[in-house]
Amino acid sequence: MSFWTRFRTNIGAMVGVVLLIAVIAIAVFAPLIFANDPWQMVQRPFLPPFSREDLLLGTDTLGRDVAAQLAYGARVSLLVGLVSTLVALLIGVPLGALAGFYGGLVDEGAMRFTEFFQTIPNFALAIVLVAIFEPTLSSITLAIAIVSWPPVARLVRAEVMSVRKREFVDAAMLAGLTKRRILVRQVLPNTLSPIIVMASLMVATAILLESSLSFLGLGDPNAMSWGYMIGAARTVIRSAWWLSFFPGVAIIITVLALNLIGEGLNDALNPHLSRRKGRA
């Protein structure tokens, strides 16, 4: 069975794809779907959901359109999730590849460095970084990347170490290719599939991290985000439950979709593993 057939027949993964496409569509077309500016007061505050057709999810403490806020929040979540994962890959992949390929002192040094970052409680470090460098989209993205690269480095190192022992690497060595070329052209492409799986799960974790930071008040003050919405509504939960409820559902749907896709990719890329788990 090809990769695509295996992925397509996985119900969970397809549900994830549909949900994710919906979230992306809402994020991209937010200005077309919602006429209201998410920062603008449009109605009286604390309007309950489903009471007016044009304000489906009601209004918040300042009379702003909750549905529009959710749509614009999707942009921030997806953007931060994606970019921070890319940055984490940019740190983790080269470090892990060098450690796994060259071994010896390089490996020792790189792994000590990685271990250090893995020991530090990562959410606490993210809080410290964002608090000190002022919350902006870029500082939040960077902070999330800084706390999420260590597992990537470890994974890539382990994969590179196992691929390096294969025969085609010896063949490339004999053919006179330089070490760098072998690493980049021969070894790394063969480690791609576990990296892809890990990356899709990392986007999900990054979205949770971003929302947690903005819940604590460490969000970019110029960007509407789901975590900020819940944080702002925290104190009025007794009178206006919907202000905390809907953004949370949005986060769950997005994170769930990404996790389902990640698992689907994992099963489709490593078919024997999934059979062992008794799922196929």
């Binding site: 250090f116 959410f123 606490a124 809080i127 410290v128 000190i132 949770l208 769930l256 389902l260």
Partner: protein, 325 residues
């Protein structure tokens, strides 16, 4: 290696890590935008010129970088984490005051999540492919995607505001003047919701891990042997599969301790639980960097300590680990 030698080497490594974190903290304080003296003073002292001049002198901010670093790091080594101008107390005192509440919360959450996670994982693996398994797996996926703080808020809404079963915030009933067992019960009641919501996410993690690990081990040769000998399914599961499947789960659980402490910041914020996580949250709004960095250092120390303890426990439980290392 004897256990003692391991403890000594681990403690030495831990000291090095903490030293590195202290250096990192120092660099962060200096990397913060603005005058370090103003940064140290936090929002509270920002307006007072004289105080800032005093700070500059006291922390040697006019001296070379190396001297400053030495002063800071040696201070941390003597448990001097600086002074919180916002709260008017040394940071170490503030943390020592709040630490027991955090230890109680994270400890209980850890035990709940590990016990329930393993139990549910075993149950799911035993019924693999059946509706019960799908149901448990789906719930685990959902909890895995749920933000901690949102689960906490919803728990407050349902069990405290709507149903009125459990208190929704605080550590104990203020002004009730309970003593002895009455106080213990009161605190336990306040602990239920925070510990459950903090443990929920980790329960999902441990459940998935246990399930996968159980299924993995159930293909091993010794399981087939057991079956061929005519042992009952139950005995095989409990005595042969579970005992082997549980080690990677416990290893993972040890590694996850750091996440648990990070999660405590969110849980304590929602439930107004007077621990170091709540202290960190309060310091964020006040831009009280000394306290933020102090909590950061102490939480890292907690994680390291926890890892050492779990490491030693495994070596005692499973002698193979000591032989391999």
């Amino acid at each position: 290696m004897s256990v003692l030698a391991i403890i000594v080497s681990r403690l030495a490594k831990a000291a090095l890590t903490l030293l590195a974190i202290a250096v990192l903290n120092f660099c962060l304080l200096h990397a913060a935008p603005g005058d370090p003296a103003v940064v140290l003073a936090g929002e509270a002292g920002a307006a007072d010129e004289q105080m800032i001049a005093q700070l500059r002198e006291r922390f040697g901010l006019d001296q070379p970088f190396g001297v400053q670093l030495w002063k800071y790091v040696s201070g941390v080594a003597m448990l001097d984490l600086g002074y919180s101008f916002r709260q008017g107390a040394p940071v170490i005192d503030l943390i020592a005051d709040r630490l027991p509440a955090t230890l109680l919360l994270t400890g209980v959450a850890f035990v709940i999540s590990l016990v329930c996670g393993i139990a549910l994982g075993v149950a799911a693996a035993a019924r693999v492919g059946k509706p019960q398994d799908s149901l448990l797996t789906t719930f685990a996926l959902l909890f895995y995607a749920t933000p901690l703080y949102w689960a906490a808020l919803m728990a407050v809404l349902v069990f405290s505001v709507w149903l009125g079963w459990l208190p929704g915030f605080g550590y104990e009933t203020v002004g009730a003047g309970y003593t002895g067992w009455a106080r213990v019960i009161d605190i336990a009641k306040h602990l239920v919701l925070p510990a459950l919501t903090l443990g929920l996410f980790f329960m999902a993690v441990y459940m998935r891990m246990t399930r996968a690990s159980m299924l993995e081990v159930s293909n091993a040769d010794f399981v087939k042997t057991g079956r061929a000998k005519g042992l009952s399914d139950k005995v095989i599961r409990r005595r042969h599969i579970l005992r082997n499947a549980i080690l990677p789960v416990v290893t993972l659980a040890g590694l996850q301790a750091g996440q648990l402490i990070g999660g405590a910041v969110l849980t304590e914020t929602v439930f107004a639980w007077p621990g170091i996580g709540r202290l960190m949250f309060e310091s964020l709004a006040a831009r009280d960097y000394n306290t933020i960095l102090g909590v950061f250092l102490v939480s890292a120390a907690m994680v390291i300590l926890f890892n050492i303890v779990t490491d030693i426990v495994y070596r005692l439980v499973d002698p193979r680990i000591g032989a391999r290392a």
